[in-house]
């Protein structure tokens, strides 16, 4: 298919809507049936419901399928380098703490090449909201193995089955110190929106894992079927639990059990607040 700037999708959003004028095929490049779109929609509707306009927020993404999501926003939106969405967002937030900063990126970007930045941002409790579209594979790059691919599954770089155990992102974020952690299937837009609202209310680092199966790569290589079949496959495994400790939030396609819910919501003072206090100390000592 030829992708062109000229092919516009219907756009009846009001002018200050985050997606206004942005839904053309050069920006919205995702496979039909992919849940990246629902994650984008969930964020934008939260921004709209909060009455936020582009001067209030910034969107950052890294590289990959979800990396292209920043291009859908009419806002200060930044398509950074591979793995570096979190430090880019940190720079924005630190230099302008009034901004509501979102990172929307994939599991390969945030947890392989960008893994170190993720754990340190959690530790600092910097006030940014990170949404990870977890599809368990490198989609855009050609279906390679990710740090979220299940053991035994087939990818372009694990033709005999993956031999590495995957990260449990919820448990990782909680252990690293994130003050808000949730996981939802990407089709559960209402719960996802609730979490995004909670993330914006949390005065610290918030992490939301969005399960967004990749039928184009993962589905094809593992005989899981098309978009709808893969959503059915996911839905059968999802178990929503209340008050589940983050380290018990099982993530196992093999056991057919993926625990979703809100696992950490323990607000503590954010990093830019600490920096404000540090300045006061420094200026008193002069």
């Amino acid at each position: 298919m030829t992708v062109s700037n000229d092919v516009s999708l219907p756009d009846d959003y009001p002018e200050d809507h985050p997606l206004h004028g942005r839904l053309n095929l050069n920006r919205f490049i995702f496979c039909a049936g992919c849940l990246i779109g629902t994650a984008i929609t969930a964020i934008t509707s939260c921004l709209v419901e909060r009455g936020l306009t582009p001067k209030d927020y910034a969107i950052v993404s890294g590289i990959g399928c979800t990396g292209r999501s920043s291009g859908c926003f009419k806002a200060p939106a930044f398509h950074a380098t591979h793995g570096r969405a979190i430090p880019f967002a940190s720079g924005l937030k630190l230099a302008n703490p009034d901004l509501e900063v979102f990172v929307l990126s994939g599991d390969g970007d945030l947890f392989a090449i960008g893994g170190n930045h993720f754990i340190h941002a959690c530790r600092r409790n910097i006030e940014i909201n990170v949404l990870c579209n977890n599809n368990g594979i490198y989609g855009m790059t050609g279906g390679q193995c990710a740090p979220t691919t299940s053991i035994g599954d087939f990818t372009s770089t694990s033709p005999y089955g993956n031999i590495e155990p995957p990260f449990n992102l919820v448990s990782l974020a909680a252990a690293a110190g994130a003050s808000y952690v949730a996981r939802w299937p990407g089709y559960d837009v209402l719960r996802l929106k609730g979490s995004i609202m909670a993330a914006m209310d949390n005065p610290g680092f918030s992490f939301i894992e969005v399960l967004a199966p990749c039928f184009t790569q993962y589905g094809r290589k593992n005989n899981l079927g098309d978009a709808v079949k893969m959503l059915e496959w996911l839905r059968k495994q999802v178990v929503i639990e209340k008050n589940c400790p983050p380290h018990d939030a099982e993530y196992s396609h093999k056991n057919g059990r993926i625990v979703c819910g809100e696992f950490v919501n323990s607000p503590r003072e954010g990093f830019t607040q600490k920096i404000k206090q540090l300045r006061e100390t420094a200026q008193k000592k002069r």
């Binding site: 582009p54 001067k55 398509h79 720079g91 302008n96 170190n116």
Partner: protein, 388 residues
Amino acid sequence: MSSGSQEKSKQSKLILTTGNYACAEGAIAVGCRFFGGYPITPSSEIAHYMSRRLPQVDGTFVQFEDELASIVAVVGASYTGAKAMTATSGPGLSLMAETIGLGFILEAPMVIITVMRGGPSTGQPTKASQSDVMQTRYLSHGDYEMIVLAPASVQECYDFTIRAFNLAEKYRTPVIVATDGIVGQMMEPVRYHSNFDVINRKGPQVPPEDYQPFEIIDEDLVPGMATAGSDYNFYVTGLTHDVTGSPDMTPEGAIKLITRLCDKVRRGRPEINDWEENHLDDAETVILSYGINSRGTPEAVERARQKGYKVGSVRLKSLWPFPEELMEKLGKIGIKKLIVSEMNYGQVIREVERFRHLGFEVSGMLVPTTIPFSPGFIYENIIKEMQK
């Protein structure tokens, strides 16, 4: 570290400090309010100083988890309108390579101080070197231009860091200040004067509804920069993009963007390039040096001249874009030989050799050492070269 009252007097008083501190104070003086960095010898004192000084002036200092995060955060901070910088040395600069390219293509004003030490790899961390001057020029992939300044004294660390921010803001591009382990850590008298202009980046030139992030309105090829937190909407990407910021994967799109980005710096060459001349009026042989290694050259030249040799010297204060105008001038003067003197195994000399067609021979004093050449060593080499 000084109080407010001392700050005023500093402008007229000489103080004794190091090149690293002078770089940091120069940055503060010109308005830098964001520093993201990672410890690395021999640059760490810049971070130390910034961690004390920035909170005093409502700035932000963060020690990040690595150099990758440090420089990426600098790009992010720059896009809020802040003057932002990092400081590192060779191995750290290697890690920053990809983001130098991002800063260039996103046209984010930013300053990187690299305090050169011995390499390759871990090399000689506590020593000086000039073996990273090609790294400062070509570290990232892709076609791009860099602006690199090379201080040779503590005073120049202060002055050139100020200039680096001004050039970064004016051309909307990353600028490197390449010092070394000696200039960075030695102490010299320096004047923290306020006798300089402060250049701030060009903002959007049209109302928000008409704004396109890479639309060129002026002849300088620099687009007006909107920042996050303003009424302007924009999307910027490390992908090749058109004036709207949208990815553009056509060959025409690549040609248009890359030529503009490079030409904006190339056209600025007469303003950016800076050098010092010594006895060029009658020189047949000229020594070209820069940074710490230029400090012994004038004495060696004087000694040779006392013996009747027609020798002169030039000192590059900016390394990149390469000062082609200087080479043309040397050709016009009709010098016979240009001797490139550098503390590496031959880097800037390769650039100089491109200009052999201007009629002069090129030879080198090229030693991958960690101590600058003594006047005696340079003198002996001048005599040897001139008796050839």
